[in-house]
């Protein structure tokens, strides 16, 4: 066989293609580090930031529900008007689990390997804060099987989650108290919140325990006043012990999931990044007429935004003179009646939009023709123009109004909307979300247009807690004081309650004053063209003194009511989920908790309420009349994990799941499990 050479060659070729094992070792992404190699010092700032974001969205949406803010009926946050909830009820859930909680186990185990006990403790604290936040909002969720690698984790009830969070805080306290092994990185290299001050972290843990134990106020068998007071005694003792998330406006870098700036305040991202939010009438009343005293709170002008009005322009179209027009509150709770001329209901009765319109800026003289068929309305409308000093002409039903250059006006021919400039939106601008060309690190004011920005005509000065550079309040001394006041009130120790109530009010005023002073020193009180923004400057001490001694504040324990405590706490907490939590504990304005009467008077369904299928209770004392939780996120749990969701709560996907009380909102376990049963 002469072709034997070929045959040999053939076999060589066939068997020479032996595989090389190394050649297959390419299954590691060259572009991204993996979760085992990341330093714990980098995990902590990430977790702190994304927790701020998670709590920001939770604070904002629950604040709209609690009446702190009004949000346009047309937007998904219309909880203050229609009570139809946002489909974005996914955001807190996804932000917590995906951006924040997914890092906790990696942080904990990496820290454990290095003997970095303080980092392990930080992981525990976030575990407790995050899962408690989710419990507050959603009631039940995967807990023991969450974050374990189980892709379809089963659910736990509220009681299990609550107890788990408390035990994590206990572990954290003991871990913080240990000395780290040598070589373990100091917490100060990673901690934006408390700069690694372990004592502040321990106080935070005790403070959180007090906050969470107060949640049990409806439960006769679990509520323990003395335990709460013990926790308070080990928690923050002054504003210096506050845990604050620092926020900046010095970068346009955005996060990977939602695309919001990473350095800014998490509340601002939701409450004041856009134009749809305003101060509610309910909140406004507390700042202007607490206890019916008719005294304006010194904090009012720092919380309620203002817009420039009566603007005069120079020859170059720049603002040379103006006044501040402070916003009024949007009344979305009260039905149409003569006593509330500004209620949305009264407005609606005349037809037109269900939402407040956004102001525009007239860079040049601008005419708008209004067709007003109703003669009385027309006369009133003309009278209003006369009062405002605006030129107008009439022709039949038509009224043509000239908005002079520099005016703020509503760019609509619907006369019903023309007065909406009275409502100033809460918006503040950041480097990224602003009027290009005007906004800078320290210029946070909102301008309605580029032309307004060029002229210096400010559209909104923003609100204290929800500016990009506002402190993100994680746990504060004033909250501790109000908890103490409530606990003593429940013990009928009015004198101690009064002391704590006054201390809480004072602490909040002090905290605000310190921040306002800091802003002024930092130059945030000047607009880009140099106008002074009084809203960013310290409060007038005389006004503070007047307020504190007025009837707006209880002057002794004898006259102090639970409502006084909770409404002062409401103002102090502001954009915080704690207000909605407290309101649930007092059944909103039902007045059927203890002998405390109506704690939140005036809070109710409004004329645009459209949630009759969500809140199916017959009347105020029926728990199902109110928003008690959020339905589980549709796209995350109801679509992808419904079997497990229904296994714990047969009504998890019912339309009226929104009104099912969560575990701590029930007096007994029987009541709670009764809601979840088929």
């Amino acid at each position: 066989m002469k072709n034997i050479k070929y045959i040999i060659l053939g076999w060589v070729v066939v068997f020479s293609a032996a595989s090389c094992k190394k050649w297959l070792d390419v299954n590691t992404d060259p572009d991204n580090p993996n979760n085992t190699s990341v330093l714990i010092q980098n995990r902590v700032p990430w977790i702190e930031h994304f927790f701020q974001y998670t709590s920001g969205v939770s604070n904002f949406r629950t604040s709209v529900a609690a009446g702190v803010y009004y949000s346009n009926a047309a937007t998904g946050n219309a909880l203050a008007t229609t009570w139809i909830a946002h489909t974005g009820n996914t955001t807190p859930y996804q932000q917590w689990f995906v951006t924040t909680a997914s890092n906790l186990n990696d942080l904990y185990t990496s820290a454990q390997q290095q003997g970095a006990y303080h980092y392990m403790a930080v992981a525990d604290v976030f575990h407790a804060m995050g899962f408690m936040l989710m419990l507050d909002i959603y009631g039940e969720m995967p807990y023991t099987q969450a974050l374990t690698g189980n892709p379809s984790p089963g659910f736990d009830d509220g009681k299990t989650i609550y107890n788990g969070c408390l035990s994590k805080l206990n572990e954290a306290i003991s871990l913080f108290s240990k000395t780290q092994e040598s070589g373990a990185p100091a917490l100060s290299t990673a901690d934006m919140w408390n700069n690694g001050d372990v004592n502040k972290w321990i106080k935070l843990c005790w403070g959180l325990k007090a906050r969470y134990m107060l949640r049990l106020s409806k439960k006769a068998n679990l509520y323990n006043a003395d335990s709460i007071l013990y926790c308070l005694s080990k928690g923050p003792q002054s504003n210096a012990d506050n845990t604050i998330g620092p926020c900046y406006n010095n970068s346009t870098a955005t996060d990977y999931l939602i695309g919001d700036p990473v350095v800014t305040n998490g509340n601002w991202d939701y409450a004041a990044e856009g134009s749809n939010q305003r101060i509610s009438q309910f909140h406004y009343n507390l700042l202007t007429n607490m206890r019916g005293a008719g005294v304006t709170d010194p904090r009012m002008s720092k919380i309620v935004p203002a817009t420039m009005a009566n603007i005069k322009l120079d020859a170059n179209g720049k603002v040379i003179d103006y006044t501040w027009n402070r916003s009024i509150g949007v009344d979305s709770y009260n039905s149409q009646n003569a006593q509330n001329p500004l209620s949305l209901a009264n407005r609606l009765a005349k037809g037109g939009a269900t939402s407040i319109a956004l102001e525009s800026y007239a860079a040049t003289n601008t005419n708008i023709i209004y067709a007003i068929i109703d003669a009385t309305d027309r006369a009133n409308f003309i009278a209003a123009q006369v009062a405002a000093g605006r030129p107008y002409t009439t022709s039949g039903n038509n009224v043509t109004v000239t908005y002079k250059a520099g005016s703020k006006y509503i760019n609509s021919t619907n006369y019903i909307l023309a007065g909406d400039t009275a409502y100033v939106n809460l918006r503040s601008c950041s480097l990224q979300y602003g009027t290009t060309g005007v906004n800078s690190e320290k210029e946070l004011n909102w301008y309605p247009s580029v032309a307004a920005g060029a002229a210096g005509a400010i559209g909104s000065t923003g609100s204290f807690q929800v500016r990009p550079v506002s402190d993100q309040e994680i746990l504060t001394y004033h909250e501790m004081c109000f908890i103490k006041a409530e606990v003593y009130m429940r013990k009928a120790d009015n004198a101690s309650a009064y002391t704590a109530y006054r201390a809480g009010l004072q602490a909040h005023l002090d905290m605000m004053q310190a921040k306002l002073t800091q802003w002024k020193a930092g130059g945030y009180n000047k607009s880009a063209v140099g106008f002074t923004i009084p809203d960013m400057e310290p409060m007038d001490q005389a006004a503070i003194n007047t307020y504190l001694s007025s009837n707006a504040v209880a002057q002794d324990g004898g006259t102090l009511t639970m409502s006084d405590i909770m409404l002062q706490k409401y103002v102090a907490m502001g954009c915080s989920i704690e207000n909605w939590n407290d309101m649930r504990r007092f059944n909103f304005s039902a007045g059927n908790v203890g002998a405390f009467g109506v704690v939140y008077p005036g809070y109710d369904h409004g004329p645009l309420f459209a949630g009759s299928s969500l809140y199916t209770g017959a009347g105020k004392t029926d728990p199902r009349y109110w928003m008690r939780r959020w339905k589980l996120p549709t796209t995350l749990e109801l679509n992808y994990n419904l079997t497990n969701a229904l296994a714990i709560n047969a009504h998890a996907n019912d339309a009226n799941a929104w009104s099912i009380p969560i575990w701590w909102d029930c007096a007994t376990d029987d009541e709670y499990y009764g809601y979840l049963k088929q």
Partner: protein, 1057 residues
């Protein structure tokens, strides 16, 4: 070696000298085709063993000198070679048999191995160039529709450049990231057919559902294809390994034929139009009612307002938006060859403008194929280059949380607004509510999107392969192959300043994505073949390696500082971003096949393959899978007869393993963020899984092939069953895992079904012929066990209106669909009564909705089929292809959207003056019968609601209210269709070309595609896929605001020199 050559020369010499003694004379004759009985031009006629060749002329006749006893060979591409021994006659009439029209011929099987069809234990369908070109579509995949049993093709949309999906015998994988599409192999090299979305909703707003994507097989010039074979079951495909579980489409491109150089040129021009558009009501204008009856007209795009006054101008915004599309298609090829070598060179350009203004597709291709023989060595090389460019538009919501796309705008724009008025004299967008609606809360005018934004995608692709075959001995040969597939896709997405986007992007936005795909493969195969008496045996051993590397780069930024310059250079540093993504996967396979046959009666084949994949954990990376198949030609045992001239039964079983996606074994972290002096790093939203094992598919099939009446009727039948277990998926699951997407091994997919093809030659006369091909197939896809606790499996990108594409675990539909439906009344045990009266929710006064994701449909057809008729009369030939589908649910999400925005004609019921809700009270069980009348007020729960509001709510309420729109069933149809997919009439001018030698052929063709669709579906074309290219159960059967499908009419000329 030298001796061997000497021996060969000697034997040739002897043979030559022998032939000298024979009596030579001139033999004349003609050659006709069995397809149409027409004379065949250019057929090679060779005296066997003698260097003497001629070709038939334009009349199909030839003349050659030969002697009695010599053998004449007739050969022509695509036809079976024919040999005849010269007897006493000087005249020969030869009919050549097309490879296509005959069962029982040679087919191309896995790894390009040619086998006799009768030896196969599994089903293979092959198509010739002629079959494919009958309804030429620039996307090869579309040309397969209706022609191959078991193959289901769905075009994504009517936009130019839009791809199509193809599944064979149902989908096997539930995962989004696995497309369930067959492997394409071109000239032995795996050819990527991805539908790649380069961008994402964060950086450029691109998702599968909001613009046009091509499947990459579109890069092939269909005119270059010589033949195509579809390997359906895994037994057929097992040798291809991991990627063959969904079947294989093997494409062989053209070669030059021995003889003179020939040139083919064809040119086509075509016009296309939307075959059906949605209709809008023109009675009611913009506005919507609040619950207390206040009509809100501020900022209203929805048409729930007052009656449009009689003297108003109305605009046909939908009808005016679409234009006529056009196609110019030019192809040329040159081919030729000698005894030892051949070449084929082609070029083509396909230029299309779409029915949506500003959209277009432009594809240019080149190919060069060559083959050369050197003694026992045959070398061939194929290279192709293509440039494909798509001008596209956003069709639905583009950027995250902002605006809507053009089609969504078109189908919702109020009829009282002139949509064409989209721009102000100062160049800003004309917005009907500019004064009261901030830009970020507004929606873009569709004309603004198509005129101001610019979205393009360009792909340059190079593919090539070199094959060497060495015949070592007559029983042994070795084949070596190196293949290369490389393309670069450049996507460009520019959103103009002044678009309705979130504030950040209102000064314009630009994104550029580069996606570079590179695939290199090497194969060495050794074939042994020996005959032992009545036994014939073969053995094949081979190894292969594959290296796939994708590099993706995204650059994006926003806020152009100086208006008019659209460039990253015109964006401040802080506002521009870039990311890299690299994917590398490698695979080594070793395989073998052994086969034995006995007397052409029984054939048995077994294969085995072991793969080592880089994508699996090291301890699980090696996996082996076997197959066995056999066939039995039972007619060999029967007496020869004309009734059953051929009969064969076959059976096979196979297992195929499938590896994971690259990097799925680890969890990665995000880019760092900087806050003050701190740097934060955290996990990505996708989790890895270090425990992955290969996905395994087991399948079996049985079938038979029969030829009756001397082959006039052919019948092929297959029944199959497959189960794919350990599904590797990266689904969206509970976020409580800490991740949005999680890599898992779970669940199984089960497909079973049958396929049947009947071919018939009804009439076969010299001047008239009629051929019929009918095929039918049925598949039933089910999802087996899946993760405990997960009730549905949803592909992310296929959720529209109230429905979601869903696979339902534990025996439910693989192509299911969940939605929301009205609840029926309950019986005494609290169980819903099917077809009982509806429950009415007293808190809304409307029907009560079941929101627990009930299964509302199965998108899988009961059967699909095709009927192809070809007629020939003298120089005319006419063929038409009917595409048949019975059953399979389609959700009309476009009608849903128009219902919600108040443009649906259905909402005109009772002139919107009243609606009636009847059923039972969901709380008390009492009868409920209530008519809501315009102008009245009603107490609903604790609120008072106006009749106008309730009428609007009855139709269009969102959320969990039981409105007409929210009952998915109102928009679901079990669709049947009969489509005239293609109609072609050709006239061959060959008769006019006598007495000249330059032009060898000329013909003209008129074709129409999708000219008629008879269907019970009320919406647009029911062949829909709202998010083309989605993996898992995909998005077929969901119609949502897409570009309408088109019909077209084409005129073409073919010239041959």
């Amino acid at each position: 070696m030298r001796k061997l050559l000497y021996l060969r020369c000697l034997s040739i010499g002897l043979f030559l000298s022998f032939t000298c003694f024979a009596q030579e004379r001139t033999i004349t004759g003609s050659v006709i085709s069995n397809v149409d009985n027409n004379p065949m031009t250019g057929v090679s006629v060779t005296v066997k063993g003698k260097n003497l060749t001629t070709q038939t002329n334009a009349n199909g006749t030839f003349s050659i000198t030969a002697a009695k006893g010599q053998i004449l060979q007739f050969s022509y591409v695509g036809f079976t070679s024919y040999e005849t021994t010269i007897g006493n006659s000087d005249r020969l009439e030869v009919t050549l048999t097309s490879l296509q029209t005959q069962l029982g011929e040679v087919v191309v099987t896995a790894l390009g191995i040619k086998k006799e069809r009768k030896a196969l234990g599994y089903s293979v369908t092959d198509l010739s160039a002629q079959e494919l070109m009958k309804n030429k579509n620039t996307n090869l995949v579309n040309s397969l529709a209706g022609k191959v049993p078991g193959v289901n093709v769905t075009q994504f949309s009517g936009a130019p450049g839009a791809g199509a999906s193809i599944t064979i015998r149902g989908g096997n994988s539930t995962s989004d990231s696995r497309q369930n599409q067959p492997l394409f192999v071109v000239d032995g090299v795996i050819y990527d057919n991805s539908t790649t979305v380069t961008g994402n909703t964060g950086t450029d707003g691109l998702s599968r559902s909001n613009t046009t994507y091509s499947n990459r097989v579109m890069d092939i010039n269909p005119e270059d294809i010589e033949s195509l074979s579809v390997l359906k079951g895994s037994a057929a495909a097992a040798l291809y390994g991991s990627r063959a579980a969904d079947g294989v489409v093997i494409i062989t491109t053209k070669k030059g034929a021995e003889g003179k150089v020939s040139v083919n040129f064809n040119s086509k021009i075509s016009t296309s139009w939307a075959n059906k558009m949605p209709e809008a009501q023109t009675i009611f204008g913009p506005g919507s009612y609040a619950s207390n009856g206040v009509l809100n007209t501020t900022n209203a795009y929805n048409s729930w307002g007052a009656k449009i006054p009689a003297d108003s101008t109305l605009y046909d915004n939908i009808g005016d938006f679409f234009q006529q599309g056009a196609i110019y298609d030019n192809n040329i090829n040159v081919s030729g060859g000698s005894k030892n070598g051949s070449f084929y060179l082609s070029g083509s350009n396909f230029k299309q403008t779409g029915i949506v203004p500003s959209t277009a597709y432009d594809k240019t291709t080149f190919r060069f194929n060559a083959e050369q023989k050197y003694g026992p060595l045959t070398l061939n090389a194929n290279v192709a280059y293509s440039v494909a460019k798509t001008d596209r538009t956003l069709t639905t919501a583009g950027l995250y949380g902002s605006g809507v796309g053009s089609m969504q705008g078109v189908y919702g724009w109020p009829q009282t607004f002139n949509m064409k008025n989209y721009i102000n004299p100062d160049g800003t967008q004309h917005r009907p509510y500019a004064g009261t609606l901030a830009l970020e809360n507004d929606i873009d005018n569709p004309y603004w999107i198509i005129n101001q934004d610019k979205l393009t995608s360009q792909t340059n692709r190079f593919t090539g392969g070199i094959n060497g075959n060495f015949k070592i001995a007559n029983w042994w040969d070795i084949t070596g192959r190196v293949g290369y597939d490389q393309y670069a896709t450049n996507d460009y997405t520019y959103i103009a300043p002044g678009s309705a986007l979130s504030l950040t992007y209102q000064k314009g936005r630009l994104s550029k994505d580069l996606y570079n795909y590179t695939y290199i493969t090497t194969t060495v195969m050794s074939n042994f073949h020996k005959t032992f008496g009545d036994f014939d045996a073969h053995l094949m051993l081979g190894t292969t390696s594959e290296n796939t590397k994708n590099v993706g780069q995204n650059h994006w930024g926003y806020n152009f500082v100086t208006a008019g310059t659209i460039s990253f250079n015109n964006i401040a540093t802080g506002n521009k971003f870039f990311t890299d993504a690299t994917i590398n996967k490698r695979l080594v396979g070793a395989y073998g096949e052994v086969g034995v046959s006995y007397k052409d009666l029984i054939y048995l084949t077994a294969t085995g393959r072991n793969d080592w994949s880089s994508t699996l954990p090291i301890e699980n990376r090696s996996y082996f899978y076997p197959s066995v198949s056999g066939s039995f030609v039972f007619t060999k045992l029967l007496p020869k007869n004309n009734i059953l001239s051929f009969g064969k039964v076959r059976a096979s079983w196979a297992r195929v393993g499938k590896d994971a996606n690259a990097y799925a074994t680890l969890t990665y972290v995000n880019s760092p963020i900087t806050i003050g002096s701190y740097t934060g790093i955290g996990n990505q939203y996708t989790s890895g899984n270090p425990l992955l094992v290969p996905e395994i598919q087991d399948s079996w099939e049985i079938g038979g092939e029969f030829r009756l009446l001397n082959g006039r009727i052919g019948l092929d039948y297959t029944y199959y069953h497959s189960q794919t277990q350990n599904q590797i998926a990266q689904p969206r699951l509970s976020n409580a895992s800490g991740y949005i997407l999680t890599s898992i091994n779970s669940g199984s997919v089960i497909n079973e079904g049958m396929e049947m093809a009947v071919t018939g030659k009804a009439i076969s006369k010299k001047d008239f012929g009629w051929d019929v091909v009918v095929n039918f197939s049925h598949n039933k896809g089910r999802l087996g066990a899946f993760l405990p606790g997960v009730a549905y499996f949803y592909p992310t990108d296929a959720q529209f209106g109230t429905v979601k594409a869903a696979s339902v675990p534990n025996g439910g539909y693989f192509l299911g669909m969940t939605g929301t439906i009205f609840l029926h009344e309950l019986d005494s045990k609290g169980v819903e009564i099917p077809n009982g009266r509806y429950q009415v929710d007293p808190t809304t006064g409307l029907y009560k909705l079941n929101t627990n994701n009930p299964v509302v449909g199965n998108r899988e057809p009961d059967f699909i089929g095709g009927l192809e008729n070809s007629f020939r009369y003298k120089q005319f030939s006419l063929s038409f292809l009917l595409d048949i589908r019975k059953g399979g649910d389609v959700y009309n999400g476009t009608e849903y959207a128009m219902m919600v925005n108040g443009l649906s004609k259905q909402t005109l019921l009772n002139d919107r003056k009243s609606v009636t809700v009847t059923g039972v009270n969901s709380v008390t069980g009492a009868d409920f019968n209530q008519t809501y009348t315009s102008g009245q007020n009603y107490t609903i729960g604790s609120t008072t609601q106006s009749g106008d509001y309730l009428i609007q709510q009855y139709w269009a309420a969102g959320g969990t209210v039981g409105s007409y729109a929210n009952n998915s069933m109102n928009f679901i149809t079990s669709v049947n269709w009969l489509k005239l997919r293609a109609l072609a009439l050709t006239y061959d001018f060959i008769g006019l070309l006598k007495n000249q030698t330059v032009i060898k052929g000329i013909s003209a063709t008129v074709t129409g595609s999708n000219l008629f669709t008879w269907t019970n579906y009320k919406g647009m074309d029911p062949e829909v896929s709202a998010a083309g290219g989605t993996g898992g159960s995909g998005s077929t059967g969901i119609d949502y605001l897409g570009v309408p499908a088109v019909s077209s009419f084409t005129f073409g000329i073919n010239l041959k020199f």
